[in-house]
């Protein structure tokens, strides 16, 4: 059953893909006989045939995921999205501390240990990556506007 739902959803996506390939994509001028649209058309047909076979003969009955696990997975995804959204505004250190702590706590670590883990990951991670490996990580827009007097908002205020 799970197979059929998944294949059904993919089928809708593939049909949309096929519709675009057969109607929307076209080049104003082209030099090769195939053009940009033929390859997606071929792929769409192969995908739809495969999906129809799976719909015809599914082999996975259920996902075997309990309600609590679904809840935990959903929470993880929400945390990940929040982490991604806060990455630039709050900066690497603060967002990682928040994410690391909540995630570890959610997965069953004690609250103090989680906080220690989050702090360590955020601060040590930043030092290691930015200072030692010279990678580019966000310092945080909030802090930039707070502490940097040369930022546009501050200089406008002075003048």
């Amino acid at each position: 059953m799970a197979d059929r739902i998944f294949a059904g959803v993919l089928l809708v996506v593939s049909l949309a893909y096929a519709v675009i390939a057969f109607t929307a994509i076209s080049a104003p001028f082209q030099y090769d006989p195939l053009g940009p649209e033929s390859w997606p058309r071929l792929l769409a047909i192969v995908a739809i045939v495969c999906l129809l076979i799976i719909l015809w003969k599914p082999d996975t009955d259920s996902l075997g995921v309990t309600g609590r696990t679904w809840f935990r997975l959903a929470a993880t995804i929400i945390l990940l999205v929040a982490y991604a959204e806060l990455y630039e505004p709050l900066g690497f250190i603060v967002s990682t501390i928040l994410f690391g702590t909540t995630m570890a706590a959610m997965l069953g670590a004690g609250i103090l240990r989680s906080a220690a883990f989050g702090l360590a990951a955020g601060i040590a991670g930043y030092l290691l990556c930015v200072m030692l490996l010279d990678l580019n990580l966000p310092a945080g827009e909030i802090f930039e506007t707070l502490f940097e007097p040369s930022s546009p908002a501050a200089s406008e205020g002075e003048s």
Partner: protein
């Protein structure tokens, strides 16, 4: 032969540069660490570390040497969790658990670990030696391939993928098609037409290869860890003082030799990697030498066979990747993508155009093999400690590493959402028994496949018969049909013979 020697001289010149030598060692060490993490296989390890290695801004040969070290190290590290925890990191390590874990339970953990290190070393070295002999020959032949031949080669690659990888042929084929479809997103290079971008500027240039890899492997792995969350620590068997003896190696020497040959040649087949090789090697060895029924109860030959085959296949998989530009496994697909990011097109011309990269990589694999043996024998206890890292710290750590790696590429937070989305998709695919390697192979080969097809038809002016006009293409199509038909025929025959035997028993 002369080309091989001079090539190796170039290669060792690159690989023995102190900085590159350091990178091999660092890569092997980091790879073993991440490979030893419970449940995190080599491919996920390489996927998570790849963007970080890319972000460090080394030259192409140094970055590749680092990545190959990580790849090799992760293959080594994977066996530690197989033997001590009975948790295989990836499909290739499943066979290692069959006899490795019973050995550890019999109180011979140290012996099992050191024997598997020796077997891996021999298998890996054998593969690298064969690779340095074969690769230049194959690439010299592959220079004569026309676009139509390349199309045939791709068909062969996907056919062997569909028939040998995964549980269901349809699902493997669909997985590869999904990868190919993902690769069509972005501006078409030939005509400048935007395809499937829906006006989102972030994906005009196509979805970045790193994002697909980290999303499908790293983030999907993270969701799997959350799903299987086990509270507290996993119980690891202790590493004792027992050690491999010369008599053990003497006992297993033919096993290791046979399995290395099997592993290498299966590894060469495009699309099939270590998982098929180790399964075939274990099966062969069991049929040949399991006279007392000790396989599965801690037989040393049962441990040595998949380990030697595993590492030989890892080397064998590099051959088509370097010479044809067609990766032999999921992990080499990732390495291929890494080469493309450095604007190096792997394939027949790489040996003549960028000999420093091609031969430097090969030489670093010689060094990496030795380094891993040296690192692994004394330090295995340290790596085994990694097994006891509680899952509730490991899981957020994977996300943090993945985010660092992806953000450092271009500094676009949209990419972080993209990997999360792809991670969810990858998790669903895994739950449905799809294998993820075909998806990444399809994604990497997508533009190569399409461009060669379009080039071939441009040459012929739209006449499709060009695809079967050369003997090379025809041979490849025949091989593709064989590789699909043969396993089906063999299982049918085996079933029929079993059926006959049953009926004979009843009468």
């Amino acid at each position: 032969m002369e080309a091989v020697i001079s090539g190796l001289a170039t290669g060792f010149g690159v690989a023995l540069d102190p900085f590159n030598l350091f990178l091999v060692l660092a890569g092997c060490f980091a790879g073993t660490l991440i490979g030893a993490l419970p449940g995190l296989g080599p491919i996920n390890g390489v996927a998570i570390l790849l963007p970080i290695a890319y972000g460090l801004g080394f030259g192409p040969e140094s970055a590749l040497i680092l990545l190959a070290g990580i790849y090799y190290g992760a293959e080594y590290g994977g066996r530690i969790s197989s033997i001590l925890l009975n948790v295989p990191g990836d499909a290739g390590a499943v066979m290692t658990t069959l006899d490795g874990n019973p050995m550890a339970r019999n109180g011979e953990a140290g012996r099992a670990l050191s024997l598997s290190a020796v077997a891996s070393f021999i298998g890996g070295t054998f593969a690298v030696v064969l690779m340095s002999l074969f690769a230049p020959l194959l690439s010299a032949f592959a220079v004569t391939f026309s676009p139509a031949d390349y199309v045939a080669l791709m068909v062969f690659a996907f056919a062997s993928l569909a028939s040998l990888v995964g549980k269901s042929t349809t699902k493997t084929l669909l997985g590869a098609t999904i990868g190919l479809m993902l690769a069509t997103i972005g501006v078409d290079a030939n005509t400048g037409v935007a395809r499937y971008t829906f006006g989102i500027p972030d994906i005009l240039a196509g979805i970045d290869f790193l994002i697909v890899v980290v999303g499908l492997f790293g983030m999907a792995e993270l969701l799997t860890l959350v799903e299987h969350q086990v509270s507290g620590k996993l119980k690891s068997l202790p590493v004792d003082k027992s050690f491999v003896r010369w008599s053990d190696i003497a006992l297993t020497k033919w096993t290791i030799a046979r399995s290395s040959v099997i592993g290498f040649f299966i590894g060469i087949l495009p699309g099939t990697g270590a998982s098929v090789a180790s399964a075939v090697a274990y099966g062969t060895e069991k049929r040949l030498s399991d006279s007392k029924g000790t396989f599965g109860h801690g037989d040393m030959r049962g441990l040595a066979a998949p380990e030697a085959a595993n590492n030989a296949a890892a080397g064998g998989a590099m051959v088509p990747m370097l010479t044809l530009g067609i990766p032999g496994s999921g992990t080499t697909a990732i390495l291929l993508g890494a080469l493309l990011m450095f604007n190096i097109q792997p394939g027949p011309l790489m040996f003549t155009q960028r000999p420093d990269v091609a031969w430097g990589l090969i030489a670093s694999m010689y060094i990496g093999n030795v380094a891993l043996l040296v690192i692994n024998l004394p330090l295995v206890g340290l790596f085994a400690r990694m097994l006891t890292i509680p899952q509730h710290y490991l899981t957020p750590l994977i996300a943090i590493l993945a985010f660092i790696g992806i953000y450092t590429i271009v500094g676009n937070p949209f990419d972080l959402l993209l990997i999360t989305g792809l991670g969810i998709f990858g998790w669903f695919l895994r739950k449905m028994d799809f294998s993820l390697a075909p998806v990444i192979l399809g994604f990497v080969l997508g533009s190569l496949f399409e461009n060669n097809l379009r080039r071939a038809l441009s040459i012929s002016g739209g006449d499709w018969s060009i695809l079967v006009s050369d003997y090379k293409s025809i041979v490849l199509y025949v091989l593709a049909v064989l590789v699909v038909a043969l396993p089906v025929y063999l299982t049918r025959r085996a079933r029929r013979m079993e059926g006959d035997a049953d009926r004979g028993g009843l009468v």
